[in-house]
């Protein structure tokens, strides 16, 4: 059953990822990316990361992708043509190059002993309490630095998007 769920949502994620890359219109790419993020959230849930799965749906598929959709609708990008005279030379090599990258990543994969984590500790590890304890003790400084980063990002976005005279 778990295998079935994994393969189902892995297939959906890969197909949606391919649609993101191969679709001509940016709006369809964005919608396919939302589907991809949703199925990846299911896989996160399967890995026992319940909090991260919820964050994935709320922040990624929700907030970030809505921002993408806003921008796509705002500037209305023209659909690309994949005709041969306009195609970039690098694109011909792109498919074998990314296939080689995938092979390298698979080759570099460590041989892993099956871990013996039981589902009890898995459910505990994914809970908000455990994450919050770690986040606000061991990772307190990175957490605070992240808040400064977000503040700078907000200021930068406002300065950039301001009307240019």
């Amino acid at each position: 059953m778990e295998q079935l769920v994994f393969y189902l949502f892995a297939t959906i994620a890969v197909v949606a990822g391919l649609v993101v890359v191969l679709q001509r219109k940016a709006i369809y790419s964005a919608l396919a990316l939302i589907v991809c993020f949703g199925s990846i959230a299911v896989l996160f849930y399967q890995l026992g990361a319940f909090f991260i799965a919820a964050i994935q749906v709320i922040v990624y598929a929700g907030a970030i992708m809505v921002m993408f959709l806003f921008v796509v609708m705002l500037i209305d990008p023209e659909s690309e043509f994949f005709s041969f005279n306009r195609i970039r030379r690098v694109s011909v090599l792109a498919l074998p190059m990314s296939a080689v990258l995938a092979l390298i990543l698979l080759w570099a994969m460590p041989v892993l002993r099956e871990s013996d984590t039981n589902s009890q500790s898995l459910a505990q590890k994914g809970s908000i309490e455990v994450i919050a304890r770690s986040l606000f003790s061991d990772y307190l400084l990175p957490f605070e630095v992240t808040s400064i980063l977000i503040l700078v990002a907000v200021l930068g976005a406002m300065v950039l998007a301001k009307k240019v005279d």
Partner: protein, 100 residues
């Protein structure tokens, strides 16, 4: 139970698809979306290892990756809007001037 290796293989495949998108596409927004896909593939790998070694640190890292991705999306999309205003196009091949 789904093994860690299966998740790692899926992460590798999704990362390669994202790389393909960054190379092939000329539309800046779609390239940006491919980068988000690559980030998600890496997140999947982080969580697979977090489960494998039974530690919570991997999940914390995914949390940070997500916050940084949100900040990056805000600034990047602002840049894309600016680019489309100036250039009247989001084609990456036309963004080749350093000064207007």
């Amino acid at each position: 139970m789904v093994s860690t290796t299966q998740f790692l293989v899926l992460g590798a495949i999704l990362f390669s698809i994202g790389t393909l998108g960054v190379i092939v596409r000329r539309n800046t927004i779609t390239m940006f979306m491919s980068i988000e896909l690559m980030l998600n593939a890496v997140n999947l790998t982080f969580l697979a290892f977090a489960r494998h070694f039974d530690q919570v640190d991997g999940q914390i890292f995914v949390f940070f990756v997500m916050t940084v991705a949100a900040a990056e999306a805000a600034v990047g999309l602002a840049l894309i809007v600016l680019l489309s205003k100036r250039n009247d196009s989001v084609d990456i091949d036309q963004a080749n001037t350093m000064k207007w």
